[in-house]
Amino acid sequence: MGSTSSTAPRLSPDQLEEFGREMDALRQRIIADLGEEDAAYIRNVVKRQRQFEVAGRVLFYVPPAWPLAVASLSIAKILDNMEIGHNVMHGQYDWMGDPGLNSRMFDWDTVCPGEQWKYSHNYIHHTFTNILGKDRDIGYGVLRMDEDQKWRPYYLGNPIYAFLLMVFFEWGVALHDLEVENIVAGKRKLADNRPLYPGLLRKIRRQALKDYLLFPALTGPLFLSTLAGNAVANLIRNIWAFNIIFCGHFPAGVETFSEEECYDEHGQESRGHWYYRQILGSANISGGRLFHLMSGNLSHQIEHHLFPDLPARRYPQIAPEVREICARYGLEYNTGRLSKQLGSVARKIFRLALPPRRSTPEAAPAGEVAAAA
């Protein structure tokens, strides 16, 4: 493991193969069972999301109901981005053949064009999860979120960058695909971004037009109040999404990997090791049904990373079985309440702002792993 604090057992190639087979079998069982219930579920979520959205837009006409309008629109945007957008664009519902729920046609209510997000997320992040130097979601090119990211004085601003990323999260997600950190490092040319600009600008224009001009204008004299309401709804969605997503891979105890430990001399990784890496590289958040819905079931980050194309409503259902398999192979299943996982992430953001302490490099992380176990 990249992290010096690693306590995860190494599985032999035979164990990894058997482990992979168990995961494949679990996946196959759910795939064979997909049908009407999953379809009814996602259609119902879409229906509710649209109702919250319409209600939010309409309530802005009633000035005393402003907080209610903001709440309603925030819920709509959160559902749209998380339980619907993120999951639909993973292809979780492609089997339905419904163009409105198809990964290649869906786009979400954020400034990031779905088309560009799918490349950096579905391909890069989900294939190379937590491999340092390959997974650009480790710190998103902005933060130091792993001990093995070399410290630079720039990282003294870690907490500030994290705060700004939280407030402007949808913009961060949109600009993520421009790989600015790779351009600075000389690994990517500015010209490589040229094909991305038209789609990005089009999406930004449409989102801004709708939230900051048309809907406010439709409320006439309440223009500014509606404009502010839309901005606050976007902000609430940003803060919520950032917090849920940062609990997915950054709590203490989550492992990172080096390329050498994942790939053999032919550059191949076994399917079993890929599953192994997904489990050790992800963390869950415990909570009730409503919490899982509002987090797009990313509170089941482990199950999501094992089976990114299974409908997310299945994750809570298979979680006990995944946990049981993990226990048999001695793999840690990292989970905890939102407050615990968030606290752990916050400590990491602050701690990694500072250079590693040379005398006791293992003291701090080891303590946190024990707390998380």
């Binding site: 292809g91 339905m96 053949g97 979400w108 799918k118 391909y123 294939t127 999406k203 989102q207 048309l214």
Partner: protein, 388 residues
């Protein structure tokens, strides 16, 4: 266009509904409300034939009330029909429209023969439409498509005859043409209902019991309308000799042919048109796209890696090596989009138009036509056509 339609189709409303589109909101109010998409409510289902002769299958006519977004159809066109099959799998197939040319928003009918040879009857759209669909159900439609249309009408009478040849359920588009001529005759042409020129309607059915629209055709044949109806059953195959007797200069006659491949080939031979020729002549051909369209050649048993892989857009065909379609495409010099190469990221999703593929992760096979597959984890079994 009514005011409502103009508002629903406006750019301003689209901007407000962005990025989801106006229809994603309207459909939640009523499935019959639409701004751009076309849907239809099933109004009536009538069984035409029961499928008596060997190899015959039941046929039903389904009457559809489309949304106001339907732009109408010209006689001979087809429409794509999307049906939610059991298991919440929407599947789309093309069907010729059997009723006379429709105006925007107007009802029309499709006449469907159940595909009894479908690899999985549960997943057959035609079987669903014949056996299961009930009035009140919603279907998803495209606009009318196709160039197999009639350029003449009773308003433009003339000495040139029209010749319509069809086999089995291939009767549907020419029936739409015939019905349009007869419907429009009193309106635009002859008061007595004559269609304004000689029409020869030649049809081949498996048996008299399997004759679709039998009563209507008998009435058309009996009336004084300028239409000659010639029905042939069972072993009475198409022959150039007989056609010459009916229409001596058939090669110089505007002709429409629709039916099974065997019939179409024999007609093309009679017209001295080489198969697959696209030269526009007097003969207009409508091919039937069946679920099992590709001749998969001699079956060589399960797990066979033989056959040919056709990359339709590139226009290349290579021998199937049994590797994943992504690898075979790359070996053929193509550069399809890809990502993880392990079936999780959906970057390489492509449309398979025909053939069987095996999922390399699960071993499951699928033979559905027009199916989106991840080519990095799909290997063809036998012939396969992929839209790359």
């Amino acid at each position: 266009m009514t005011l409502t339609e103009r508002i629903l189709g406006s750019k301003a409303l689209a901007a407000l509904a962005s990025p989801h589109g106006v229809d994603r909101y309207l459909e939640l109010v009523s499935p019959m409300w639409a701004a751009t998409e076309v849907r239809a409510r099933v109004v009536d289902v009538v069984r035409e034939t029961e499928g008596v002769a060997a190899g015959a299958a039941p046929v039903a006519t389904v009457t559809l009330q489309p949304t106001s977004t339907w732009r109408g159809h010209r006689a001979g066109q087809y429409v794509q029909v999307g049906v939610e099959l059991p298991g919440a799998r929407r599947t789309t197939r093309c069907f010729s429209i059997s009723s006379a040319a429709s105006a925007p928003g107007e009802r029309f009918t499709i006449t469907v023969r159940a595909n009894t040879e479908a690899p999985d009857p549960e997943r057959s759209v035609s079987s669903f439409l014949v056996h299961r669909v009930r009035p009140g159900q919603m279907l998803h439609l495209s606009q009318a498509e196709g160039d197999f249309t009639l350029p003449v009408s009773p308003a433009t009478p003339g000495p040139d005859p029209l010749l319509m040849i069809s086999g089995g359920s291939g009767i549907t588009p020419v029936m739409s043409q015939l019905r349009t001529l007869l419907r429009d005759a009193p309106r635009y042409g002859d008061r007595a209902g004559r269609v304004g020129r000689r029409v020869v309607f030649l049809h081949f059915a498996r048996s008299a019991e399997d004759q679709i629209f039998a009563e209507e055709l008998a009435a058309i044949a009996a009336a004084d309308n300028g239409v000659e109806v010639h029905l042939r059953y069972g072993d009475q195959r198409f022959s150039e000799f007989e056609l010459r007797r009916l229409v001596p200069d058939f090669r110089d006659t505007d002709t429409w042919v629709c039916g099974p491949a065997g019939l179409v080939e024999r007609v093309q031979e009679a017209y001295a048109v080489s198969a697959g020729s696209t030269t526009p002549g007097r003969l207009r051909v409508e091919y039937f796209k069946l679920a099992t369209v590709v001749s998969t050649g001699p079956t060589t048993g399960a797990g066979s890696a033989e056959g040919d892989v056709t990359f339709a857009r590139a226009g290349t065909t290579t021998a199937n090596t049994g590797a994943s379609l992504l690898e075979q495409a790359e070996a053929a010099g193509l550069r399809p989009e890809f990502g993880c190469r392990m079936g999780i990221c959906f970057s390489c999703t492509s449309r398979k138009s025909a053939g069987t593929v095996r999922n390399l992760l699960t071993g499951e096979t699928s033979s559905l036509p027009d199916e989106d597959i991840r080519i990095c984890v799909s290997a063809p079994e036998g012939d396969c056509v992929i839209d790359l």
